[in-house]
């Protein structure tokens, strides 16, 4: 059982290695082609400047960004954690409802209900509005 468990991690690790190797290989091939002078590589100040609307970029390279992204991210974390709790419940809903009866259903309804209350509060507070 435990061997099987670690074996699956091994499979994923091999896949991950290949998934890193292929794009890295493409980048290396592209670099080799430039070394072999097959693909052009003539950097210049203008070419390597930041793409803009026709002007040179002014102020900082990394500008400030809107606070709304933070509130969306916070909401996402809450809901995502909730979903993690829902996964085992959903997968064993059938067996558990035979074993524990209505308890299983009501408990999750309360859990989701609390979240819906929170979601309504967030809506009321305007965190879901973009404009």
């Amino acid at each position: 059982m435990l061997d099987e468990y670690f074996r699956q991690y091994g499979v994923i690790a091999i896949f991950a290695a290949l998934a890193v190797a292929v794009p890295a290989g493409m980048l290396i091939i592209s670099w080799l082609l430039s070394v072999l002078k097959i693909r052009p590589n003539n950097p210049s100040t203008v070419k390597n400047s930041i793409y803009e609307c026709g002007f040179e970029t002014i102020t900082e390279r990394w500008s400030n960004f809107n606070f709304r992204y933070y509130s969306i991210a916070l909401l996402f974390v809450i809901f995502d954690v909730e979903v993690v709790f829902l996964f085992p419940w959903a997968a064993s809903f059938g067996t558990m409802s035979v074993q524990f009866g209505a308890y299983v259903f009501i408990e999750m309804a309360i859990f989701i209900g609390i979240l819906i209350l929170g979601w309504l509060y967030a809506w009321k507070k305007g965190s879901l509005e973009w404009s």
Partner: protein
């Protein structure tokens, strides 16, 4: 794990990579042809028979193109970003079956794994935006983050609905459960939520605000060129294919529905072909949507995700739970789900926030205008009008 086992898995992974890359090449061609058809153009015609070799030519062009590294860019992040997008796109394929028993590794928690891996591509997009040190790119990266995490919740919830029906997180088991009835018929609402949020996860039109060409000129990819850009491209199409396959596996009955009477080798081959046929139908649907709908604004997109899809996905789960708990026949769930789907489409179509003020342009003839404004008729050279 012995060395030979490692080699077998590596061989499987390489075969998978090659076949998925081949599919991606086909998809780029298919998309250009499909969009051309919708827009009454020809699409690629020059390279090979009816332009069939166009993707190969594109790949060669991209790899021999100059790879520009902007002076201001954060070099490490800039270089790593394409890889960070590509890795999750490919890692999902570990546990996606194409036929009974034809899967690299059938994880018991397959769906949880897929959900967990699919979120990681946000990281690559944000890295690409941040590393480019371009304002468009930073904006695009942040938009990608906002959009992808918002639509992740309905996406997972729609999968949860399927998990409840199948009582398993194992994809092969999910398909086996659909032998008689595909879950699309049991949960039409779930299919709608899944497809919509999957389109947003892919960043395809109408949800492509993070690389919207007319707003943020390509978003996170604005500074990329050559081999770097081709990796993003590859990952994007790979994701499209993955989502289409997942839609078929989760909702359209995979290879087993409606019938797959053979067994042995014939069963496997026919299953794979049947699955790919269904997948291509879903892919055409995705292309069709891209060719038909205009892009949403960012506030519409966020509102649609949080105010529409999130409550609908909660509703979907609660309905499924009630029906399963009281052992109500499944057609009741179909009816309920269908009613809510129609209601949802009605609200989307007619709600005040989603309908835009349309400027109506009325075409009137010059003659009518002349009579209205009172412009004297043009000299027609003596000929009667």
């Amino acid at each position: 794990m012995t060395l030979s086992e490692v080699f077998i898995i590596l061989a499987k992974a390489v075969i998978l990579m090659l076949s998925v890359s081949f599919v991606v090449l086909l998809l780029t061609y298919a998309e250009r042809k499909a969009l051309a058809r919708i827009q009454q153009r020809m699409g690629p015609t020059r390279v090979g028979f009816r332009g069939i070799l166009q993707p190969v030519a594109d790949a060669l062009k991209l790899i021999t193109k100059e790879d520009i590294l902007p002076t201001w860019a954060d070099k490490g992040i800039y270089w790593l970003a394409p890889i960070a997008v590509f890795v999750p796109a490919f890692l999902m394929w570990v546990t996606i079956p194409v036929a009974q028993q034809v899967v690299v590794e059938n994880l018991d928690l397959g769906l949880l794994y897929i959900v967990a891996i699919s979120v990681l591509s946000v990281l690559g997009l944000v890295m690409a935006g941040w590393g480019s040190a371009n304002k468009w790119a930073v904006m695009g990266g942040l938009r990608a983050a906002g959009q992808l995490i918002s639509y992740e919740i309905p996406f997972i919830m729609a999968i949860l609905g399927v998990v409840m029906l199948a009582q398993s997180l194992d994809l092969t088991e999910v398909v086996t459960q659909q032998n008689s009835v595909p879950f699309a018929l049991v949960q039409p609402l779930g299919l709608f939520i899944f497809l919509t949020s999957a389109l947003a996860e892919l960043g395809r039109t109408p949800f492509d605000i993070h690389h919207a060409e007319s707003e943020v000129v390509g978003g996170p990819f604005v500074e990329y060129s050559g081999a770097h850009w081709s990796i993003f491209f590859l990952a994007e199409y790979m994701n499209t294919f993955t989502i289409a396959v997942l839609t078929v596996l989760l909702f359209l009955g995979g290879w087993s529905w409606p019938i797959m009477p053979f067994d042995g080798f014939l069963h496997t081959t026919l299953s794979a072909i049947w699955l790919l046929l269904k997948t291509s139908a879903v892919i055409w649907l995705i292309f069709w949507i891209r060719g038909t709908y205009p892009r949403l604004r960012i506030d519409q997109l966020m509102a649609f995700g949080w105010k529409m899809l999130v409550p609908l996905s909660f509703l979907n789960i609660l309905m499924t739970a009630v029906v399963l708990f009281y052992s109500i026949p499944l057609w009741v769930l179909t009816c309920l789900s269908g009613i809510f789907l129609v209601a949802a489409v009605y609200i989307i179509r007619f709600s005040a926030s989603s309908s835009m003020e349309r400027e109506t342009i009325r075409l009137i003839s010059a003659k009518e205008l002349r009579s209205k404004v009172g412009i004297p008729p043009l000299e027609t050279g003596g000929k009667p009008e």
